[in-house]
Symmetry: C2
């Protein structure tokens, strides 16, 4: 992929440069408490007066995601949405279908259980995804318990 001749012999030796755009993106992410798509973030930044290219936003989000600095989710429409999470360890999300508000949580027992279950089938190198969607307290009152939106996994704001 990349044959870097000049490489600081450092593990994962990518040292991110502090550019105006990168800073702005991180700052924007810091304000979000919900998941947003790259395009939404880009548009939001522009509205806020920042001058950033869409490709740059995509590239940075990708980098940040790989670095584990942001969490990524893929909606059922195949769109990637990002969020800067407080937790740095493996965790899951409880997302409000209406406002996108997100609660992070850990589920040690689920981790254990899935691992055992998978192992019992002879599977290794196990990984998993788990997301919970619902209506947050603010959007629960008097709402229809049967949401017309089937398995919608949209986090629109």
């Amino acid at each position: 992929m990349e044959t870097t001749a000049h490489e600081t012999a450092r593990t994962g030796g990518a040292r991110p440069r502090t550019t105006r755009q990168r800073t702005a993106i991180l700052e924007t992410l810091g304000r979000q408490e919900d998941f947003r798509s790259a395009q939404q973030i880009h548009e939001q930044m522009r509205s806020g007066g920042a001058s950033v290219g869409l490709a740059t936003v995509y590239r940075n989000l990708q980098t940040l995601a790989e670095a584990g600095q942001v969490d990524v989710l893929v909606t059922d429409e195949g769109e990637s949405i990002y969020r800067q999470c407080a937790a740095t360890v493996h965790h899951h999300h409880l997302v409000c279908r209406v406002c996108g508000r997100t609660v992070e949580f850990e589920a040690p027992q689920v981790e254990t259980w899935t691992r055992e279950m998978a192992a019992s089938h002879g599977f290794t190198a196990i990984e998993h995804t788990m997301e919970i969607f619902g209506l947050c307290p603010e959007h629960s009152d008097g709402e229809d318990p049967q949401n017309p939106d089937g398995a919608a996994a949209e986090a629109s704001a």
Copy 2:
């Protein structure tokens, strides 16, 4: 589901016409024991001698998915993959990252736990997704012949 009966439009059901293509698609799905993308299915059908348009495959898979006759998963690359599952009730999947071999399973305790957890945060109308990926027994030891990328970047959450 193959009863050739005269159904009055009562059960809110649109009556799908029995076309050569639709039949072929269903038959192909019946043979699969793993998740496949629309394009893969289409190609496979063509290789098998069937003459079907890609759009038709997409349209039918969409219809079948809505009807609950097939399960859909969205990969981390945003591609939709389909599979005709044995279980008709809510269930999850344990999928091999190499060959796609899939094991269906139920996880009542997880269902319960997530429900309680979400409720404790005041959330209602709870729904969730959970998929497990790994390497099946056959692909656990050796390397991945197609994906020289052992550690997949699963959108863990």
